[in-house]
Symmetry: C2
């Protein structure tokens, strides 16, 4: 029987504020056994870009990443946010190791082809290396993954953290009984974001089609749920979308086949 | 018999310019067997601080690191410089892994006590974890170390890269036959920096005392050579100070007991 692993994806809003980050890291530290944390950091990148006089341009929630912006996200995601988390987890007795996709070649990607939009140095993931990650994890190491990949030709690429979480979970599911938890500021997928009681407890492929058709699921939630189904369809045992204070995975929206 | 390992420390000036970095990484890639790269990045940090309107204050070549400056060096050393090197080494087939002292707890330090000068968030190294590093290296991983440590209480600390190189070499000498090479823009320790033929080929404890007394060795070279002797006295087989284009270690100044 495979060992269990928990993969937590946490968005920028939570990791970028001192109090919510501390609370998250307390909870993450309490998770028993193998674990991985994948983080965002977009708001900090936007603020840093602004301080440097670099304009942040977003299309459909994705950052257009020219070479100046790539420098900013490399500094903010790979440096400031990632190493702050690593140091604070070490203080909690978690043997954290900060990684981008370039480190140990764990996640390779290619530059997104120019279509209607030229996203610049944005990566679409080709493959995560589950074997390399599992070798690190077997030594008691807890990977903390920043949303950057590389193309194998020396270029770093700004990459969606939700996708990186799904690809990491898929790759690790060959080695572990894998649970993927997307956490953010809401209790899960809601019928009505203003009504705390409108949480959708489970989403199946079939119910997802209806939710999409009815416009209940839209915007940034669509790629998140697409990523969740991609994971479920490729060996990941369980995907849950939930609030950052509920990363035990009991509450929230469970994505099931 | 222990396996060999080569530890290269390279200063900011070389890693911060595209051409000299590429040349260095070509040479580093060509080194056979186990290896570690430890880099600086001070000039980039100064430039980034300036762009952010943060004043860089130096005392005796060391940066006064207040909390704003700590953010800058975390971004620049741990993010920009480190991850750029990692991605470019991966493109050369080197399985690079970027690390600060906080990652896997490889180098712990304490905040330098306030004396005549309050250096702020600057770390004095307590201990490098040679066993953890050797476990990574045994898997074919090549550690790329940024000049940041942590105090185990959640704080990152700006740390001298020469010292980190010496401490890393000392810690690894329990597991490997260790060679430490400090490389920079000069051919080695010079009697007269303006005379290329004035290279001092070897320095012993005894000759060092004379060089110091005669004022031939001074300034930033003193802590570098002190670090070299510290390494030699603690199990490191060989320490060489040389130019970045001579990291095969044949030329340069050899520090011997």
């Amino acid at each position: 029987m495979k060992e269990k692993i928990t993969i937590i994806k946490v968005g920028g809003k939570i990791v970028e504020e001192q109090d919510s980050l501390a609370a998250l890291l307390d909870r993450f530290s309490a998770i028993e056994g193998n674990k991985v944390l994948i983080h965002g950091g977009g708001r900090s990148a936007t603020r840093m870009a602004e301080r440097l006089g670099i304009e942040s341009r977003m299309v459909g929630g994705r950052r257009i990443t020219d070479s100046d912006t790539l420098q900013v996200v490399t500094m903010v995601y790979g440096g400031l946010v990632n190493k702050t988390i690593v140091a604070q987890l070490q203080a909690r007795g978690v043997n954290a190791l900060g990684l981008t996709g370039a480190d140990c070649n764990i996640i390779k990607a290619h530059k997104r082809p120019v279509g209607e939009v030229d996203y610049g140095f944005v990566g679409d993931v080709d493959k995560a290396d589950g074997l390399m990650l599992s070798r690190l994890i077997e030594q008691g190491i807890v990977p903390i993954v920043a949303p950057l990949t590389h193309d194998g030709n020396g270029n770093l690429l700004n990459t969606n953290a939700d996708t990186m979480a799904a690809e990491t979970a898929k790759a690790l599911s060959a080695h572990y009984d894998t649970r993927l938890i997307y956490c953010f500021e809401f209790p899960g997928v809601m019928r009505n974001p203003d009504d705390a009681d409108s949480l959708i407890p489970t989403i199946t492929r079939e119910s997802y089609r209806t939710l999409l058709a009815d416009g209940i699921v839209s915007g940034g939630m669509v790629p998140k749920i697409d990523n969740a189904f991609n994971a479920i369809d490729n060996g990941v045992g369980e995907v849950i979308i939930t609030r950052a204070d509920a990363i035990d995975g009991i509450q929230g929206t469970h994505i099931i086949p």
